[in-house]
Amino acid sequence: MLDALLSSWGLPLWAVTTIRALVYLLGVLAFVFLNAIYLIYLERKISAYMQQRLGPNRVGPRGIFQSVADAIKLLCKEDIIPREADKWVFLVAPIVIFIPAIMVYAIIPFGPGMIAADLNIGVFYFLAVASTTTIAILMGGWAGNNKYSLLGAMRTVAQMVSYEIPLVFSILGVVMLVGSLKTSDIVAAQKEIWFILLQPVAFLIYFIAATAEVNRGPFDLVEGEQEIIAGPFTEFTAMRYALFYLSEYTNLLSVSALAVTLFLGGWQGPWLPPWLWFIIKVYIMILLFMWVRWTFPRIRIDHLLQFNWKFLLPLSLVNILGTGIGIKVYQALMTGGW
């Protein structure tokens, strides 16, 4: 649509492509920032209500501008670099964590045709880009020259790399059903039945692993306020800290969006416009994540890793096996042959 409009103005192809990319980029950025800022407020409000507190209620009606006020405050803060820090790594880490957090949105289909780059390896791209967050956290933990930071970073890396495997394997079940890694194909394949019904185990594994991947409670060992201050983020101040914080919520949004795309039928739904369906489903997922975070206590690192390697990983392999057998049996029944 946009392409046709731009070409009708007589622009050359490269200009059309560039403008389209810029429009998508701006759209994604606006969506992500507004949502991330709202999510911070939502999280504080929900946690407050769950703990019978009021939460932020001073700035704006029901405290809705609290995050904006926080952002402005952080913008006006001093930028402290510890004397013994590894300076370059320290400077680069917040940027390294933020770039993949935005990049993954390229393959999220917000509606029919509303996708920045419909890559034919979409899901794989998401996993590849999202996994680089680990590096940024390790950089942040290392650079501050703070023992708690390093400890937090080490734990987080162990956690994130471990949980990445069940995450990847759980998505594999969906990929087997669709036969494509394109996110638009995956959504289209769920026209009749959502994959959460065909792959309930995979959804459960995805949900647990994604919680661990974005370092939310009960897997928030990265921060673990009571024992290691704020983990890798301890030494960061001002906007550098804000970037870590924002990327955390951006990641939450992106894993929820991917869950909706893979398991909950993407933007499909009756009556309402597709993009609205998409946002409603994403928020249901996010509320689920928040509910879990404020309900369960943080678990210990050895339990965390053992749960992953000794339960989730075998379970996800069994799920792949079951899916494979299921598909073959279904094919055999439908066609009367292998």
């Binding site: 913008l75 930028d79 510890p82 290392w142 703070n146 890694l181 001002a238 550098r240 970037l243 000794k310």
Partner: protein
């Protein structure tokens, strides 16, 4: 985008010299003791190794999963053997205590 945010921060923030303990490492008010960048325990390395193993496996599994419905039963059984070998590895690591948090 990240650069822009940092640039705004640079414009707005107070620019006075940071004195005294302000630039010290923050450890609950105590002076930090000894070097931070020490050798870490081997446990993390073991997990990293197993992770690497399975991460490579996923790279093989994805193309297989994409073409799964087209390929015949033979490919399925072949992949079963492949996964089986990896499970054997996992079982060995499990038996040897590689998955325990030391």
């Amino acid at each position: 985008m990240a650069w822009a945010a940092l640039a705004v921060n640079w414009l707005l923030r107070p620019k006075r010299p940071q004195v005294g303990d302000q630039r010290e490492t923050y450890e609950c008010g105590l002076k930090t003791q000894g070097p931070t960048w020490v050798q870490f325990r081997i446990g993390y390395f073991l997990y990293a190794l197993i992770f690497l193993l399975f991460d490579v496996e996923t790279i093989f599994l994805y193309p297989w999963a994409v073409k799964f419905q087209v390929l015949g039963l033979f490919a399925f059984i072949e992949m079963l053997i492949f996964i089986g070998i990896l499970i054997l590895g996992l079982w060995y690591a499990w038996k040897e205590g590689g998955l325990e948090w030391l």
